[in-house]
């Protein structure tokens, strides 16, 4: 009986979910980083969705896992986990968790989006340092980075003209940043097991020193109703890299 209720709830949720995002979908990317000007495969990035039920509500659990390939683990091991729990229909985040392990450096962050809609409770810890708790004032509709990626997939991009931008606000490292997503045009991009896909080419612009260069942080979303991220190029203070979609399941 419990199983039937769970399936029924899941089905209801599926029908309420935006058409672009499916429950239990998995996107696997290969992450390459430029070393001496050549792209070297360094890590795997997995984006997945599932359902989390509490006694009163159901949440869409969005998670991103970054892990170095085994051959790199002895030199620089990465095991990063980014998670967000959002309302399945509005994509409003309730809880964001970040658990970082990068070559011995650890960091945990938890943002609880408080019911007043304009404040976030942040609990963070670097390495084995003290646990810091803050209340951050934010503008309503502020998103975390994980939610932003998924939210972008629910936006109608078909009416955008090249050069036009969409504005968002995100919270990262306990700071709120304005982010603009600029539509650059359409391009064909290789999308792993999905073959070649015509994609929306979008530039991510943010007032932060964490992203470098103009139009050097780009995401390609398939120009269909699923808007699957097919490729990502990023330029950060320590170099440039690229994510290529290898496998898309359950989309």
């Amino acid at each position: 009986m419990k199983k039937i209720v769970t399936i029924a709830v899941s089905l209801l949720l599926v029908f309420n979910l935006p058409a672009q995002i499916k429950l239990n979908e998995t996107l696997v990317f290969s992450g390459a980083y430029a070393i001496s000007g050549m792209m070297t495969n360094l890590a795997q990035l997995t984006m997945s969705t599932d359902l989390l039920k509490t006694s009163k509500k159901s949440y869409l659990h969005l998670s991103i896992v970054a892990a170095t390939f085994q051959k790199w683990d002895s030199y620089f091991k990465i095991r990063d986990l980014y998670e967000s729990y959002v309302d399945p229909t509005t994509f409003k985040p309730t809880l964001y968790k970040r658990n970082v392990y990068e070559g011995g450096y650890t960091k945990t962050e938890t943002y609880t989006f408080l019911p007043d809609g304009k404040s976030i409770k942040s609990v963070s810890q670097r390495k084995k340092g003290p646990v810091n708790t803050h209340i951050l004032n934010v503008t309503p509709n502020t998103l975390d980075v994980v939610t932003l990626i998924y939210k972008l997939r629910t936006v109608d991009l078909s009416r955008l003209q090249p050069g036009q931008s969409l504005a968002f606000k995100i919270i990262f490292d306990e700071k709120e940043y304005p982010v603009w997503i600029k539509f650059l045009g359409k391009e064909n991009v290789s999308a792993g097991n999905l073959g070649k896909k015509l994609c929306y080419k979008l530039s991510i612009l943010a007032k932060t020193d964490k992203l470098k260069g103009k139009d050097k942080n780009i995401i390609w979303l398939s120009a269909d109703n699923k808007k699957i991220p097919c490729m990502v190029e990023f330029s950060i203070p320590v170099g440039v890299g690229r994510l290529n979609l290898l496998k898309a399941e359950g989309v």
Partner: protein, 107 residues
């Protein structure tokens, strides 16, 4: 001049071996390729009775290139499945459920 190319070939050959041992992927082709070219030049400009060492360097650099190519073709990129990380993810989800329930009770 012959000595110069031999030295270059040795330096880049050693770098090529180091890069091949490290998981550097296609980047290892760069020093190994330079080592091969330097060895080839040294071989071509050497007198016939002095080609032994440059021939050896040429063979070594070709072997390095073959190993790099083989690694690229046959060694697949895989992520080690770690029980500890899986457990960490499960614990994180359990914590999240509790935190979300606490938050719901606040409303």
């Amino acid at each position: 001049m012959r000595i110069f190319w031999i030295v270059i070939s040795i330096i880049f050959g050693v770098l090529g071996i180091v890069f091949t041992i490290l998981p550097m992927g296609t980047i290892a082709f760069l020093p190994a390729g330079i080592a091969f070219l330097a060895a080839l030049i040294a071989f071509l400009i050497s007198e016939k009775n002095k080609r032994k060492f440059s021939r050896l360097l040429l063979i070594i650099s070709v072997l390095i290139l073959v190993v790099i190519g083989g690694k690229k073709i046959f060694q697949k990129d895989t992520v080690k499945v770690e029980q500890q990380f899986i457990q960490q993810k499960e614990e994180s989800e359990k914590e999240a459920q509790k935190e979300l329930e606490d938050l719901e009770n606040l409303k």
